[in-house]
């Protein structure tokens, strides 16, 4: 370089071309953004700590009220039952079963099918791959009628199997595992074979440990996918005691405004929001990696 480009004094730690004012502005905009993004959730929490009377007389104060214990106790022990027909534990249990069932089921099926497609040579292999691939274009929303008919014919309405099975087949997860398996060098497979490992042994002792991060990331994504399902549980459950928490919440709100027990609804909303948020926060690193790599 002919002429040295010395950074302006006082800006040493900044990147070239950045000003301190710009950084403060960036912080300000970020904080504003977070206020917008986190506000609805915070506000729900605030609402869940006030009495019904306070909520019905807007505007609601911005700070949590004194009714935290009273509201949560009422909601957890019987209050939800009065307005939703079932107690909140059943709802949470149903949702958890569904989310876990979808996450685990999808991972099992897709890892096995990806294993078959990548490592085995059998007739119609590519046909099967394309058959799986095409289902990527058919989200549940598009095939609700036929799927519903099949579930009715199997007698799976109002069962956990009916909630879980139609959502389990997943092209996305299969594709992800396929991409990952294709990066495994052929030498590794051959070495395992020379050492006398059969297909099962290779799968359990080599492939599974290698794909541990992929599985973790997928688990988070699919757990959230299962937890937040709406249309399908709405269709496939008729009895209140098979509802997921999201559906039950919607049923509570749908009454006339004055009748809605908003403070209990807000507690339920918190209970419905918190578990997936916890899962995301605790597994953030894997989740972010999985999300960004998954859908490319």
């Amino acid at each position: 370089m002919a002429e040295p480009t010395a950074p302006a004094s006082g800006h040493d730690r900044l990147m070239i071309g950045q000003s301190a004012a710009g950084i403060y502005l960036a912080h300000a905009i970020l904080i504003l953004g977070i206020l917008i993004v986190a506000f609805p959730i915070y506000y729900t929490f605030v609402a869940s700590t006030h009495t019904l009377q306070t909520i019905l007389r807007p505007p609601l104060p911005l700070l949590p009220g004194a009714e935290f214990w009273a509201n949560y106790k009422e909601a957890l022990f019987g209050g939800i039952g009065r307005i939703g027909g079932v107690d909140v534990w059943t709802l949470l249990f149903n949702t958890t079963v569904m989310a876990l069932g979808i996450a685990i089921g999808k991972i099992c099926i897709s890892i096995l099918s990806a294993y078959a497609i990548v490592f085995f040579r059998f007739p119609l292999r590519m046909t099967f791959f394309w058959l799986i691939f095409i289902t990527l274009m058919l989200p549940v929303e598009v095939r609700i009628l036929p799927t519903y008919k099949v579930m009715v014919d199997f007698g799976l309405i109002d069962t956990y199997a009916g909630l879980i099975l139609p959502l389990i087949a997943s092209a996305t997860a299969t594709l992800l595992f396929r991409q990952f398996f294709m990066t495994i060098p052929g030498e590794l497979v051959e070495a395992a074979r020379v050492d006398g490992a059969g297909p099962w042994r290779f799968f359990f002792d080599i492939l599974l440990p290698l794909s541990r991060t992929n599985i973790a990331a997928l688990f988070v994504i699919l757990f959230i996918y299962g937890w937040t399902q709406y249309l399908w549980p709405l269709l496939v459950t008729n009895h209140n005691d098979m509802n997921t928490i999201v559906i039950a919440l919607r049923k509570m709100v749908s009454f006339a405004d004055a009748d809605t027990q908003w403070h209990l609804v807000m507690v339920t909303a918190m209970l419905a929001i918190v578990p997936p948020i916890l899962v995301v926060m605790l597994m953030q690193r894997w989740f972010v990696r999985g999300l960004v790599e998954n859908e490319k």
């Binding site: 480009t5 990147m15 071309g17 950045q18 710009g22 950084i23 960036a26 912080h27 905009i29 970020l30 953004g33 977070i34 917008i36 993004v37 986190a38 609805p40 959730i41 506000y43 729900t44 609402a47 909520i55 807007p58 505007p59 609601l60 990527l136 274009m137 058919l138 989200p139 929303e141 598009v142 609700i144 009628l145 519903y148 959230i224 937890w227 937040t228 709406y230 249309l231 269709l235 999201v246 919440l249 919607r250 709100v253 405004d257 908003w262 609804v265 807000m266 909303a269 419905a272 929001i273 997936p276 948020i277 899962v279 995301v280 926060m281 972010v288 999300l291 960004v292 859908e295 490319k296």
Partner: protein, 255 residues
């Protein structure tokens, strides 16, 4: 493509009659319009806000992780719940934000006014999608070499100019990918929001395509029409996916 008599005794193959009926129905044309307005607005709002925040997050060094952690919360919230939270805040009778808006002199009423209902839906849908877009934009920004930006700074390009001439074009693959994802999201995943917040109303002003498939099939029991709409929707998804994949292939070549 089957037609059943009222007692369900026999069904008849009617070729494309169901499709013809659906496509000539004013309500269906209306719901196509609603879907387009909704998707375009949702994608535009969610992406521009996320891009702004991501660019800002890329600038700061301190407490970046903290911002990111708070930013991904809405991803974990179910669309239907997001809709309910917004309904709670903007409900004309008990919503606190609604009260504030009305104090500013705007006659806010999403229950009766179709435009207001639409705005509410777009806000809820976009809010939920911001975190997803944010993560992708941050990843995209990190892939841009810092030396390029510094070189431009040395050449005297201001912050705004650097963004539009360097960062934005280099971010194009991410942006395009997110555009497709966001449109798909607005098309299909927002059923919960529509169902929870407005139920397609007032009138039919917020009835999106997916909502109409559900409503015709499971509430009005027009099975043939609903199935035909499903097929049309499927064609739309395939078209969207095709665009995405053509694009991804191009990215592989030139990326």
């Amino acid at each position: 493509m089957l037609k059943e008599d009222p007692f369900g005794l026999k069904s008849k193959f009617v070729w494309f009659a169901n499709f013809q009926k659906v496509l000539s129905e004013p309500a269906y044309i209306n719901s196509i319009k609603v879907t387009i307005v909704f998707s375009v607005a949702t994608a535009a709002v969610a992406m521009s806000v996320a891009l702004l925040l991501a660019v800002m997050a890329e600038k700061v060094v301190r407490s970046k992780g903290f911002y990111r952690t708070l930013m991904i919360w809405p991803y974990a919230v179910a669309p239907a719940i997001a809709g309910m939270l917004f309904l709670f805040m903007f409900n004309p009778s008990i919503g606190s934000v609604a009260v504030l808006i009305r104090r500013m002199g705007i006659p806010w009423d999403p229950v009766l006014n179709g435009t207001h209902a639409m705005i509410l839906l777009i806000a809820a849908a976009a809010w939920k999608q911001i975190s997803y877009n944010f993560l992708f934009f941050v990843a995209g920004l990190q892939a841009i070499p810092k030396s390029l930006i510094e070189a431009a700074a040395i050449d005297g390009a201001g912050e705004t100019k650097r963004f539009w001439t360097i960062v934005f074009p280099l971010l194009a693959p991410t942006t395009f990918f997110l555009l497709v994802i966001n449109t798909t999201y607005a098309f299909f995943d927002t059923f919960g929001i529509v169902h929870a917040v407005t139920g397609g109303g007032p009138g039919k002003s917020t009835e999106t395509l997916v909502y109409k498939v559900y409503n015709d099939g499971f509430v009005n029991l027009l099975l043939g029409s609903s199935a035909a709409q499903s097929v049309i929707l499927m064609v739309i998804v395939i078209a969207l996916t095709a665009i995405q994949f053509r694009y991804v292939e191009r990215k592989v070549h030139y990326g």
